[in-house]
């Protein structure tokens, strides 16, 4: 049957209308069209729904009947006292994640590369990958148990070391929040994110190391003069991707770790703020406007990152 269709298609495709040609390959089209319909509904309709930002959305009236209000919600956001606070937190947290969280797996990969005992290397790798697969709910549970004022291990340790006299309630102290958040992120992702850099290291030509040994270069020098420069292309690609993600300060991690409202002054980033305003306070239009503002800047960052990528001879699209 299909065999026949293919045969006839080859003979008559020039003259046949596009509809007929599509119908002839219905089996193929049936594979992709339902999926594309789902993509349309769940990815493209929300893009249209972004127009909510320019309306006063009312759940009862629905999207169409809600009145247009232009840039009212954007102006309200820029003028609100929360704006500067949220922007500062977003930039600080994503900046910290970029400058500390991004190099961490590279350092781990470089260190693992120096390990000569296969078993030890495998052991460290296996253990360090594991947290990546644990949900943030559980990671946040671990953290609040570790930091618990009520005999959490960190408080026990710090008291034994005589660094603190009384146990501290770390998760209710704004000054520690950023440290805890970044540490938690590194703890969760460092092992998994090192995989890609380890693979890049594995691809390095071994004769370079042999030559360096003959020339008497120390291991330390080899690490900085051979390994690191050799994986630089991979590092740069990932760095560029990270720039495009700069407004992505985090969502699940912050929602789950900043349970105490005392922390909101330092923990509210654009994404979590959208969530609180929109889903919890039901101010849909206002929240959509903030989300759109974030999306526009993200796209600009992405284009910018891609421009840099082009200069290094690799482009994202």
């Amino acid at each position: 049957m299909t065999q026949l269709t293919i045969q006839t298609k080859k003979n008559s495709s020039a003259g046949a209308g596009i509809v007929i040609r599509i119908i002839r390959q219905w089996q193929m089209q049936l594979m992709v069209l339902p999926a594309l319909a789902l993509i349309f509904v769940f990815n493209y309709l929300p893009m249209y729904g972004v127009l909510t930002a320019f309306k006063d959305y009312n759940l009862i009236k629905g999207f169409n009947a809600s009145p247009w209000v232009g840039f009212k919600h954007f102006e309200a956001f820029f003028e609100s006292p929360d704006f500067l606070k949220v922007m500062r937190n977003t930039l600080v947290i994503s900046g910290l994640k970029f400058f500390i969280g991004f190099p961490a797996p590279i350092v781990l990969a470089l260190m693992l590369n120096e390990v000569r005992h296969r078993f030890f290397k495998r052991f460290v790798q296996s253990v360090s990958y594991l947290p990546y697969f644990i949900s943030w709910v559980i990671v946040a549970g671990f953290i609040s148990s570790m930091l618990s004022i009520d005999n959490g291990s960190v408080n026990i340790l710090l008291q034994k070391l005589k660094l603190i006299d009384e146990p501290l309630s770390f998760l209710s102290m704004p000054q520690y929040f950023w440290t805890i958040l970044i540490t938690a992120n590194i703890w969760k992702d460092i092992g998994f994110n090192s995989i890609v850099f380890l693979a890049a290291i594995a691809g390095i030509d071994q004769t370079m190391y042999e030559a360096a040994e003959v020339d008497g270069a120390s291991k330390f020098k080899q690490m900085f003069l051979i390994t690191l420069p050799s994986i630089m292309p991979v590092v740069i690609i990932f760095m560029i991707l990270a720039i495009g993600n700069l407004l992505n300060a985090g969502f699940e991690d912050i929602l789950l770790l900043a349970k105490n409202p005392i922390l909101w002054n330092v923990s509210d980033v654009l994404d979590t703020y959208v969530f609180r305003i929109g889903i919890e306070n039901l101010r849909y239009s206002f929240a959509t406007a903030i989300g759109l503002f974030r999306a526009v800047i993200s796209v600009a960052l992405l284009v910018f990152a891609n421009l840099i990528a082009r200069r290094y001879g690799s482009s994202l699209w």
Partner: protein
């Protein structure tokens, strides 16, 4: 190999020490939570429980497994993970196979339509309003349908299918197989490794998801374990009591006077982590491969 110089030896020793420290700090929170979950809660509250349980007990776990809400939540999690992973992988693989066909009319536009979604999206609120509007609130299908097609996985599948020998599909066609027949009889059986890898990541995402149910589900019997766990952990902070636990468990609590909210939370966390820790050693080689397939596309 040459003997190491003094400076190098210091470096290697430092590296081993730091890696050991990393392994320890990664492992310790799991271990400590496990220890607390097997220790009497009242005893834990006295302090000093770190590496080994002091007052061994099964009470925490017994309470967990007597709580109907928790059991129901486990059931929802297992169900959504199995159904969601199976359906998503199948639907995405079919889609990807169709997209490998060069003679597919409109393929270029379909592909653009997919790639755009990687970079642009409507954001949280429009998606939320859409799903409300579609009547998916408080429905099991809200776990399955919106995440059914993953563009990212489609691209990985497509790359894999393109690497399969052309001749096999040709011969199937000559033997009278349609596109669907070729897919199920020839292509799918050859795709074991990529299916395993992508299923692993999809299943982990389903098991770990707490956010989707927290905004779309109000009915208690549809709440999966991660979301319930979050509610329980939150209520500990607020009230330091066990108001979340239902009557049967409260009766058990009355019997086991040793339990505290912390010891109970740890037991629930351990049970919610267990499936992942159990399959983890067996799937390690797959996910390393998976990361590399994924990053090749970047």
């Amino acid at each position: 190999m040459r003997r190491l110089g003094a400076g190098d030896r210091t470096m290697v020793v430092t590296i081993y020490a730091m890696l050991l420290l990393l392994a320890f700090t990664t492992f310790y929170p799991f271990w400590n939570a496990l220890v607390i979950s097997f220790n009497e809660g009242k005893d834990t509250a006295l302090g000093g429980v770190t590496f080994w349980p002091r007052a061994w007990t099964w009470d925490n776990y017994e309470t967990v497994f007597k709580d109907d809400r928790l059991l129901q939540a486990f059931f929802v999690s297992v169900l959504r993970t199995i159904v969601g992973t199976f359906m998503s992988i199948l639907a995405t693989a079919v889609f990807a196979y169709g997209m490998t066909k060069k003679e597919l009319i409109g393929r270029k536009y379909y592909m653009i339509m997919c790639i755009v979604t990687i970079y642009f999206g409507g954001g949280l609120i429009p998606t939320y309003l859409l799903i409300r509007g579609l009547g998916l609130m408080d429905s099991f299908w809200v776990f399955i349908i919106p995440s059914l097609i993953s563009v990212w996985n489609m691209i990985i599948f497509r790359t894999f299918f393109n690497g399969l020998p052309e001749g096999l599909q040709e011969s199937a066609k000559i033997d009278g197989c349609g596109d669907w027949g070729t897919f199920f009889r020839i292509v799918l059986p050859l795709s074991g490794p990529v299916i395993a890898t992508l299923s692993l990541f999809t299943a982990v995402a389903h098991w770990n998801d707490w956010f989707v149910p927290s905004i779309y589900i109000n009915k208690e019997y549809l709440i999966p374990i991660q979301t319930l766990l979050r509610q329980i952990l939150n209520s500990n902070i607020a009230t330091e009591n066990l108001s979340q636990i239902d009557a049967a468990a409260a009766a058990a609590l009355g019997r086991f006077r040793t339990i505290t909210s912390r010891s109970l939370s740890m037991a629930i966390m351990m049970v919610a982590t267990l499936p992942i820790v159990c399959v983890y050693p067996f799937v390690q080689r797959y996910f390393v491969k998976g990361v590399l397939i994924g990053s090749l596309k970047e």
